[in-house]
Amino acid sequence: MTWFTEANTQQDIIDKAPTLAPTFKAFYDSFWQLSSAPPSLLELCRLRVAQLHQSDYQWQHQQIELSTEKRQSLSQWSKSAVYTDAEKACLAFTEVYCMDPQAITDAQAEAVKSELGDAGLVALIEALGLFYGMTRVSQLWGF
């Protein structure tokens, strides 16, 4: 239950706007079927956004199953050997994106492009916007 409705989950709250909920869900779901950015990579970035926002609600949510090691080492990803080069490039990009997208450097964008291509960079940026937004909305709603 949150401060403006008795619904208990973010999705149940979104369902309170029935003229919007189905198109929102289709938009959100489309990110987990991309050819240019693997779901497991996006899930890592989603979880890093949750960590940076100190959002336990988003952290506890599991969109895609990851290894325990990858989840547990995430705050120390830059020093860990469990992440691929593509994952590290995307996590570095994620951290700057969350702080200030104007501070993203060309080198950080190129590092993502060298792993995922142009479409992968665009997909990551769109997905980060969605994860950042979902995290902030859940915090506004008291989760």
């Binding site: 309170k16 919007l20 289709a26 964008a109 769109e126 909305v137 506004l140």
Partner: protein
């Protein structure tokens, strides 16, 4: 901030501003995005003028030059004029905007700046003015506008100076 675009769309020209942009490279998300965006602007419960208030507040805070220049015709038809737009500054609390409009801007600022910091008093004022469906609509609208203004900034190629005002329709 990079003033060079970080990707080249290199797509066939369809005449659709979204499909022909870098967003068109991610083919799986384009149609779902356009349908969700359509719903945000056309399917209520908030008016397009109210959504535009939040969009422009976000545009100014994120400093997306393109987003700041755009005015959606549907919002103008719903009653948002430039006299109101000029009041979407950091001093909007002292403006002649209505209390409902000011609540929209304060909620947008909480999203942008500190989403965990909403006071009990503000939550009460919001629930007295807005239904649950309206609060969900406002939240999703802010999220969508913020997502794509940050996207525009992240993709590079943003002009350094403000652009002339552009009245356009919501992309379909």
């Amino acid at each position: 901030m990079s003033n060079q675009p970080r990707v080249s769309a290199n797509l066939s020209k369809t005449g659709n501003v979204v499909r022909d942009s870098a967003l068109g490279l991610v083919t799986e998300t384009v149609d779902p995005y356009l349908r969700f965006n359509h719903a945000i602007w056309h399917n209520g419960p908030l008016t397009a003028a109210e959504v535009e208030l939040a969009r422009l507040r976000n545009a100014r805070k994120v400093n997306c030059v393109f987003c700041k220049a755009v005015r959606y015709d549907i919002a103008i038809e719903a009653g948002l004029d430039e006299a109101k737009v000029e009041q979407i500054t950091d001093d909007f609390d002292q403006s002649e905007l209505s209390q409902r409009e000011k609540l929209i801007l304060v909620y947008t600022d909480y999203y942008l700046q500190q989403p965990t910091a909403m006071t009990t008093e503000f939550k009460q004022r919001l629930t007295e003015e807005f239904s649950a469906a309206e609060i969900v609509h406002l939240s999703l609208a802010i999220m969508l506008c913020n997502c794509f203004s940050r996207c525009a900034v992240s993709l590079g190629g943003m002009p350094e100076e403000d652009l002339p005002r552009m009245q356009i329709s919501v992309p379909e």
